[in-house]
């Protein structure tokens, strides 16, 4: 079975390396030197796994041939150009999105007629360089049908991911899980980016815990108005994650520290827009949305 992983950041690298143990994996990169490095050195995983995978890589989708599964693992902000670049390729593939936030599936749907699966992932890692990724949190990837796919298709991909050594679960409807994660990310990632705190005990107690709780409540109200029954309570997800002992640095915090654009539009932006659509007031999410956007503007 041939799998193409498009986007080789932290999440893409973790998928590509692990899947290479059970499938023929090709990686679509943005940079030529990144593809060259992968072709020459393979992809090394440290942390919870320890191995080096052989993968084929290219910046040109035409060079990668057809595939049964294409995993789009780039950041949300890069999805539109990536989806456009694979238009017309991989005619027999099912395409799976794993972006944060809402709306990734529709971005891809506009560029081709592939059957679509939608996924969210809770695993995390640290990308040390182009050919070395550290596997940090072994939490699951959740998969559900989106367009011309069924729960059985989602289950087949989940099974493949599990065989590769990662955690995955399939659902008949991903939205309850997707919204749980959306609310969690919209809250935790922005607060971390604005305060400089990793996701630690400050988020579950005291004054900052109070703000996190209020942000989660706003998110729940939007989900309720959108008719989504959450799979997990984002507040409990937050409390649970802060009790891990290992304080996680959300990607949005890493992004602002490195003065990179963040995923604010895709995460909090989609929550705020959904709130508007359903006439739910979200003053706190609106405030942190504006603050993170302004923080991005301060780079220049």
């Amino acid at each position: 079975m041939r799998v193409v992983v498009a986007g080789a950041g932290t999440i893409g690298s973790l998928f590509a390396a692990h899947l290479a143990r059970v499938a023929d994996v090709a990686v679509l990169t943005r940079r030529e030197d990144h593809a060259r490095t992968l072709n020459e050195h393979g992809l090394c995983v440290s942390g919870r796994s320890g191995f080096t995978a052989r993968v084929a890589a290219s910046t040109d989708p035409a060079e990668l041939g057809d595939a049964a599964l294409v995993v789009l693992a780039c950041k949300g902000g890069d999805l539109e150009p990536l989806a456009a670049s694979i238009a017309g390729h991989f005619p027999n593939a099912t395409v799976m999105t794993v972006q944060n936030g809402l709306g990734a599936e529709d971005v891809v749907a506009a560029h081709g007629v592939w059957p679509l699966l939608s996924a969210v992932t809770f695993m995390s890692g640290t990308r040390h360089d182009d050919s070395h990724v550290e596997y940090v949190l072994d939490t699951a990837t959740w998969i559900g049908p989106y367009r011309d796919t069924t729960q059985a298709d989602a289950e087949a991909v989940a099974e493949l991911i599990r065989a590769a050594g990662l955690k995955a679960e399939a659902f008949d409807d991903l939205r309850p899980a997707q919204w749980s994660k959306l609310i969690f990310n919209a809250t935790v990632n922005t607060v971390a980016a604005l305060t400089g705190l990793p996701h630690d005990f400050h988020f579950a107690a005291g004054m900052l815990g109070g703000l996190v709780h209020d942000l989660v409540d706003e998110g729940k109200a939007v989900a309720a108005a959108a008719g989504v029954e959450l799979r997990e309570d984002p507040w409990e997800m937050n409390v649970h994650a802060t009790q891990h002992g290992h304080a996680h640095y959300p990607s949005m915090l890493e992004d602002v520290k490195a003065h990179r654009p963040t995923e604010i539009e895709l995460i909090t932006g989609s929550l705020v827009r959904a709130a508007e659509q359903h006439c739910v007031p979200v003053p706190l999410h609106t405030a942190v949305y504006r603050l993170v956007k302004a923080k991005e503007a301060s780079y220049s």
Binding site: V191, M207, D214, P283, L284, V288, K293, A294, K295, A297
Partner: protein
């Protein structure tokens, strides 16, 4: 008249050096910076910028050295009020103590240690260039008034205001000084933490329409808390915010809280947004945005020590 400046940083130095110009005023300064105190005692206190002044005064790091004073002017950062006034209260057993600090709660902290308290708000600003030398950035007015729960006699408030004005710090005595104080607090609480959280200068905060709305949301909560206490603002903080954003005023100014955050110094957030939240709670006025901003800036401070 003998006046002691408690906390001789930038703002304290402006009062100290200017009051020291007057023949009928003896000025003392209490500050914890040994270098600053030594420089003042050796060479006088120099101001440059908006005014060139050299003040001759007695400075000390030892509160016990302060003689009995008719007036104290507290100019420490708000988080040091209580400790500074507790240490120096003996000098004001028969005197009155005024605050010219930022934020809310300073009068209450002073009143725990002295009998006669003067509420105050000041707009001049500066920065310490070197020990004994302060840059006077902007001139501005000061307003003083009796602190209602433990008021100084109004005649004494007038006497201090008159001395400050003669010394070169234009000061008005009013019976209710809460209007200017809340105008300044609302201004600071709506803009300083936004600069601190985003890294943007005052002008860049104000020119982003979405961020300007957040600023207005914070202003509206502050106004509601002021109104619930029957406080009439002497001017609209919104006008002050837009005025300060002009290129020739303070477009490029980094709020002091942003400077604090960049230098990893504890900020005055507890006395600005924190003060608005506390007074709001007391008067049944919800202040969710000020609460959120307060929590975020405390989180920033926590990120340095975790």
């Amino acid at each position: 008249m003998r006046v002691a400046i408690i906390g001789c940083g930038a703002v304290g130095s402006l009062f100290a050096a200017n009051l020291a110009q007057l023949d009928d005023v003896e000025v003392w300064a209490y500050d914890l910076s040994r270098e600053h105190v030594d420089a003042i005692n050796a060479n006088g206190l120099h101001l440059s910028g908006a005014g060139e002044v050299v003040g001759r005064l007695r400075a000390t790091t030892d509160a016990a050295e302060l003689p009995p004073c008719e007036f104290g002017i507290v100019a420490t950062k708000a988080m040091h009020t209580s400790a500074a006034v507790a240490a120096t209260a003996h000098a004001f057993a028969n005197g009155c103590v005024a605050t010219v600090q930022n934020g809310l709660g300073n009068e209450e902290a002073i009143a725990e240690h002295v009998e006669r308290v003067i509420r105050g708000t000041t707009f001049p600003a500066g920065k310490i260039l070197a020990p004994g030398h302060v840059q006077w950035d902007v001139k501005g007015d000061t307003t003083l008034g009796p602190f209602e729960p433990r008021p100084a006699p109004f005649a004494e408030v007038q006497r201090l205001a008159e001395a400050c004005t003669r010394g070169g710090m234009p000061t008005t005595a009013v019976t209710d000084a809460r209007g200017p104080q809340w105008r300044k607090v609302i201004f600071n609480a709506a803009t300083n933490p936004i600069g601190a959280l985003t890294g943007l200068t005052h002008g860049r905060v104000v020119e982003r329409p979405d961020l300007r709305k957040l600023v207005s949301g914070l202003v509206d909560e502050g106004k509601a808390v002021a109104a619930a206490q029957g406080i009439e603002l002497d001017a609209d903080p919104e006008d002050l915010i837009d005025h300060a954003a002009k290129p020739e005023v303070a477009y490029d100014h980094k709020a002091s809280m942003l400077q604090d955050v960049e230098a990893r110094r504890t900020t005055e957030i507890d006395y600005l947004n924190g003060g608005i939240v506390r007074f709001g709670r007391e008067h049944g006025v919800p202040t969710p945005l000020n609460q959120a901003i307060w929590a975020l800036v405390k989180g920033v401070e926590d990120s340095w020590t975790k």
